[in-house]
Amino acid sequence: MKEELIVGLEIHVQLATKTKMFCGCKLAFGDPPNSNVCPVCLGMPGVLPVMNRQAYEYAVRAGLALNCQIARFTKWDRKGYYYPDLPKNYQISQYDLPMSHDGFLDIELDDKRTKTIRILRAHLEEDAGKNLHEGLDHSRVDLNRTGTPLLEIVTQPDLSSAEECRILAMELQKLMQFLGVSEANMQKGHMRFEPNINLKITEDGREYRTPICEVKNLNSFRALERAVAYEEWRQLEEWKNNHDYTLDNYGKQNRGWDDDKEETVFQREKEEAHDYRYFPEPDLVPVEIDDAWLDRIKSEIPELPGVMKKRFTEEYGLNDYDAAVLTGDRATADFFNQAVQAGGPAKRVANIVTQFGLKTANEQDRRMDEIGVSTEQVAQLAQLVENGLINASAAATIFEIILDDERHPETIARENNLIQQSDTGALEAMVDEVIATNIQAVQDFQTGGKKSGKARGFLLGQVMQKSKGKANPKIVGELIDKKLKK
């Protein structure tokens, strides 16, 4: 028996506009319920929706970055939807003429292989509001989110493991953030995933396909990965018990994800496409995009993480790992770029950001730009290290201080007596003293061979100790070499 997992992913991304897709109501997270609503998003009779230009341009920008064909002509459609969180009783979406289609995104798997995931389409639509019913005998409806612009990205069924689904989702989050089209903040529900999952099973020369299950509304990478892994297990078990558990016999179905029990639960047979009763939206006119407009949107695409990572290794000589960490999210990449622009030597800035900055950020569960240090301070700190004024341990100490001290790192270094001693005269006296009192080590060093390096390290350490860690080790090393090399 051979089984193969087949997954296609639908991803909803909330666009970072100030206002809704078809009306001027503010988009804000956590505002009082039903405070950002108007007759348009409340679905009052007689109102007219008007497209948000920024939302359209963000969607095109994202489509371009997903290597999609951008449709020169698109229109809007109504999709039947009978739930109170969208009181028009339809959702404005795009059916047969989506604004972009046929793209791809490359993902890097854990074993460093690159896999291309084809994108079927990416289109714009409006979000629904929120139904709340926990512990109530009725449902409460909050329509603040109703009409929020969403980009729906649909992949081809090219994903073949739960892990690949998670990697793709994280790659998309990073891409959307770098593009500036979405905050892609998971806590605020800016990204939601709906995997379509089934298995192709071959046994005794016969091929079986299990029913396609769509798991609705997963809102974290973890839930996505777990839900796909659970479905892979569940569908195989069901099929083992009953070889008639196939797509032909059971069709498609919707399932929900129970985060506490970590299992999917049956919701309903999936309504076939025609049951959504799509038809053209008469209240909105089509969109036509010409070369000039498309070129302008193209020009607004910033440097994307793949290209940026390459630049960091080639231009700054960073290693692959550091370059990957620095381009891991937009906030970190922006911080690094700005610190380098502010005059920080790239390699030193990279060390400070990856070793101290991101460590602090992780501890505080914040982004790099939220921990209290400015890009200028990091640039200045990097210069101090580069110029040999402070050593690595002093840099760590100063970094801790500037987390809540806005002053120049050099001022702090002087105040805390952390400036390295680079004055050859003073250091020479210490080196002489150490040479005079460690005859054995001097002999080992001069004999050469295995022991030589160790002896040199010992002598250097003695001088460092004498200087209470303030001697510039590079200069001390040079002095030792000069004095003892015959």
């Binding site: 009082p32 405070s35 609503v37 739930y83 139904n131 909105l284 036509e288």
Partner: protein, 101 residues
């Protein structure tokens, strides 16, 4: 329309729209909808072989607004017409959390 609309089709559409209809209503709506569909079916007499489908009846495109915040309704205004409210929320009969938008 070559095939006549059936009562089952009407029941199906009613269910999708979350409408409860009695058998009498289904019979009535079926005959009424048939009449409408027969009327519209007259269009099929036209030869549309070389006619491009029309996405919109107006020769207009690209009507946009700038992404600028406009004042929303107050919570009380928003809820003024609601048959039932629960504090700042609309209150409706309990629905399963489907939100498949």
């Amino acid at each position: 329309m070559s095939a006549k609309l059936t009562e089952d089709q009407v029941r199906h559409v009613a269910r999708l729209a979350r409408l409860n209809c009695t058998d009498e209503e289904i019979a009535l709506f079926t005959s009424q909808l048939r009449a409408i569909l027969d009327y519209v079916a007259q269009l099929e007499e036209l030869d549309t072989t070389d006619v491009e489908p029309l996405a919109h009846c107006l020769p207009v495109h690209n009507v946009f607004r700038a992404d600028e915040v406009r004042e929303s309704l107050s919570n009380d205004q928003a809820l003024a017409n609601a048959p039932q409210r629960d504090g700042e929320y609309f209150a409706v009969p309990k629905v399963l959390g489907d939100t498949s938008a």
